[in-house]
Point group: C2
């Protein structure tokens, strides 16, 4: 499976993706699921992907080919608004559907590529989109400033309880990584390394990009500190009276 998150903040956005793929528990591999289109000073667009890897990779490959074939309206790097970026990604999803869906359906394989796209172009504000497998898409707003794709449930409660648009980037990154820890603990098909991108509004370039691996210790620290902290909180909550 996969777990990816995008969080839109007052001061920018944060995207993260795991890198585990599996075709059954006996076929696990590591693939990067984050793609970045950057032209410093002009735009920064980043997307994370969930769903069948052959499909999400095809969408990304197609966007790459389109960017080089000379038609400005198909070139993600010449797009003027994030709305048009989301639309273009949706078009690529539709094109992959046209090419692949029938053959996949004949083998009962679901057409399921989905994307979370964060970006800022020129003077537009930073924006965050969720593109579905039909190519349609929605945009994040302050009411619900995050999108999750893939294995979304185990890691959702911490967002529902703790996320605020006013958080600094680093705090949101921490919350995202706690959400990843909950997810990885409960579903083995989501796994390290995690690609983490932080984008500071109006910088128009990658602000921070980090790959968190087993080796660097941060995730192990989160697991330990969060787990021990929950245990302490658990002890402070009184048990229910059992005679009611």
């Amino acid at each position: 499976m996969t777990y990816c998150v995008g969080v839109l903040l007052d001061r920018g956005f944060v995207l993260a993706s795991d890198s585990r793929t599996n075709a059954g528990v006996d076929d696990i591999a590591t693939f990067r699921k984050m793609t970045i289109f950057e032209k410093p000073g002009t735009h920064l667009i980043a997307m994370v992907a969930a769903g069948n890897l052959s499909l999400t990779q095809s969408v990304v490959s197609l966007l790459g080919e389109w960017a080089n074939n000379g038609e400005p309206e198909l070139d993600l790097n010449q797009t003027k608004t994030m709305y048009r970026v989301a639309h273009l990604v949706g078009r690529a999803v539709n094109e992959v559907h046209r090419l692949e869906a029938e053959a996949l359906a004949s083998q009962s394989i679901e057409f399921n590529p989905t994307f979370v796209i964060g970006g800022q172009i020129g003077n537009e504000r930073p924006r965050l989109f969720h593109v579905y497998s039909a190519g349609n898409f929605i945009e994040a707003s302050p009411d619900t400033p995050f999108f999750q794709i893939g294995e979304i449930k185990y890691g959702k409660p911490v967002f529902d309880r703790l996320l605020k648009s006013s958080m600094p980037l680093a705090e949101a990154a921490k919350l995202i990584l706690i959400s990843f820890d909950s997810t990885m603990r409960s579903n083995l098909s989501v796994g390290l390394p995690i690609d983490l991108l932080c984008y500071e509004a109006d910088s128009l370039r990658v602000t921070h990009l980090r790959r968190l691996t087993d080796a660097d210790g941060y995730m192990a620290g989160v697991r330990k500190q969060w787990g021990e902290g929950l245990r302490r909180v658990f002890e402070t909550v009184p048990p229910p009276g059992l005679d009611g």
Copy 2:
């Protein structure tokens, strides 16, 4: 949807069920999903159910009819071991499948009744089973001393992190209710009241049975204390370094 949990402890077991049913978000109702077969001094058997309400109710009705038709091997109240109870519930599930599945399939309705059953009969130890919609079942063991059915994901991380078989009943009940709070916060189709049953090993009767409603305040307290506690823990976890 539904959320039900059973936890097997060294000192007994705890079962809990929500009571929300929905046939679409425009058709919400309250139904009890916990059934108790008790003969004080002889046995205490309790089951919670998830899946299509017409199917789970049919299974329970059938078990009730069987208990009164004079055939001892179909009478749950005359069963000698919890293994045979699980088997009998599985037989009732199979019988409902025989009666209903074809008509349901013709309208693309899934046959999905599942049950968690806790109980103790005579000198046997307390045991906990999970009966699937095919009538097959598994038994809890110290490695994984809990079963969830229905909307299981949002409430699983706290069990993965905090549950221990050595917990007192009241602590396990508290953990279950925290798990319910996480689930209800993230999925509106799970809702109060919650039926909570605690069984103390070798008592052979209901130890504590409580219905937690909006009115009694305990769940509101859990939400507040747990939410605030998580916020405090969150503040103590250092953010990731973002220059790596």
